[in-house]
Symmetry: C2
């Protein structure tokens, strides 16, 4: 029997899209399959879509003479990694105790390893992206909410129950909405923008806000570029809160690199990194902590959780 | 040559006292020497006192037929553990770039290992005290300020530059005094008590406050016991902030145990643990994180940093 060179398929499954990739031993993505999650169809149909997406990568493996050894999947949690079960995914309809691993293992005949998507993004960036070669990396991903992950010497730090890295739930302010996510996540930013516009302030987003359209990171970026009087101060304030969260992370965890990613950062990486880097340093200044600290934008874009899932599958299967 | 059983000397050196202990292989403290730091005399004299204190333990080792292999010292930082230098100790006069390790090594002819005192307290409690047998332990020590340490599988997690665990510097509120320490440390509590009393509120502490006496943890305990109308709400509020900090630590780090120690906790362990345990759980509830989490009081009392320093010296010298 002649078998091809080893490969792993990584999958980033979110509330809106499924992204699968065929990845070789050099961690090059040789083929991708992207499709809509269609979360409204429920877990059974969605998992069939994930399987179909993985099958496209399997076909590509055949074409590339590669032997797929395992599948790694990053998806919303909380989940039970050991049992391969998503316990609860608030962003996905009907996802309670979904046996993702066993369902896909049976459908595909391959070993499947699952983990939280933010953890996978952090692992991907830490090992292959912006944290390459650094000892302690923290990923902080600003999307609709804020997720994160901790990577120590190339290994994911999962904590006692596997929920370490939930940086968005840090409490940084008084009041009921005092978490980092409540003050610097896209949904909280969008809510503040809408509120100001509805109270009569002029903005390039007035039309979108009045039509109750989704306020995307791209729209925020455009508004910033035009110096919008509503969006600019709200975003500046959000960066102050994000810096506050990062400073606490430095004081607790002392990472060598904080990697900022997620939709909001990807839409305006330099704008975000400049502010967070400066303000975080100011908040921890005087004790030398921030001297070596790097605060950088994620490098792998859409592939960070996909590649992190590959690393995860390799580590769990003993392949690396 | 017949040599005795191996032993290590642990030292907890603070701004007010030096506590040394002779510790055998079973981690029993066989002898102690306690003396005042006399920080005003400067580093040279203080280090001579530390050496004298250690010599008392060396004499006890002779009497017990034990061979001292190393000395571990926990002391205020920041410090350079690798070089054995205290870089800066704000609570000690004139301590800038003090070569503690080399000075004591020369004076005593023994290997000396130094680390931050809060880290040593956390290590001692995690390995030999309230965190015994748990995988991930966080020590949170509420004294004049708030320090802490992280222990993963019995090993101190120091971070990239050795400053991990500075939990007191977490930012938990808006404003200039927004750190955990600024809202739940003894100095901040004492300042609030004095302020209220000076504004005319009645308290059992009125006399002490007007005489500008130091407000100790013991005085706070007595005031709580008597239901004091000034101290009680201030302390309740401080516990809310401390819980907020602990909840953030759970979300970031997912420890299996949080060990609360330090003077404030030691003076009223049950009162503190009851409140912090309840409120921390409420703040992280709904995601299952707090189910297994233990929040407990430190067990080793004055010996926590001393014993942590012994563990540290054992691990660094390869003795354990």
């Amino acid at each position: 029997v002649i078998s091809g060179n080893p490969a792993v398929i990584g999958v980033d499954m979110g509330a809106t899209k499924i992204l699968s990739g065929l990845v070789n031993g050099k961690h090059e993505v040789l083929a991708r399959d992207k499709r809509k999650t269609g979360a409204g169809d429920g877990p059974k149909v969605v998992l069939e879509r994930v399987a179909d997406s993985i099958r496209e990568c399997l076909k590509a493996a055949v074409n590339n003479n590669l032997a797929v050894e395992a599948v790694g999947i990053g998806l919303p949690g909380p989940l039970d990694t050991e049992k391969g079960i998503v316990l609860e995914a608030p962003n996905l309809e009907g996802w309670t105790n979904v046996p993702v691993r066993d369902t896909l293992r049976e459908a595909l005949g391959l070993e499947v390893y699952i983990e939280n998507d933010a953890n996978m993004g952090a692992l991907g960036e830490a090992v292959l992206g912006a944290g390459r070669g650094r000892d302690i990396a923290m990923g902080v991903f600003v999307g609709s909410g804020i997720g994160g992950g901790i990577v120590i010497n190339g290994k994911l730090f999962r904590g006692h129950k596997g929920i370490a890295g939930e940086v968005g739930h840090m409490i940084i302010r008084d009041g009921k909405r005092g978490s980092l996510e409540d003050n610097a996540g896209r949904l909280s930013i969008a809510a503040k923008i809408k509120k100001r516009i509805l109270s009569g302030q002029e903005s390039v987003m007035t039309e979108a806000a009045l039509a109750d359209k989704r306020i995307t990171s791209g729209m925020i970026r455009q508004a910033l570029d035009s110096g919008d009087p509503v969006v600019t101060p709200i975003m500046e304030k959000a960066m102050t809160y994000l810096s506050r969260g990062c400073a606490s992370l430095v004081n607790i965890f002392d990472p060598s690199v904080i990697i900022l990613g997620g939709g909001v950062v990807e839409a305006m990486p330099e704008w975000v990194v400049k502010r967070v880097s400066k303000q975080t340093r100011e908040l921890v200044i005087g004790r030398g902590e921030a001297k070596d600290l790097e605060i950088v934008a994620a490098e792998l874009g859409d592939d960070s959780a996909l590649l992190g899932s590959v690393i995860w599958a390799e580590q769990k299967s003993g392949g690396a």
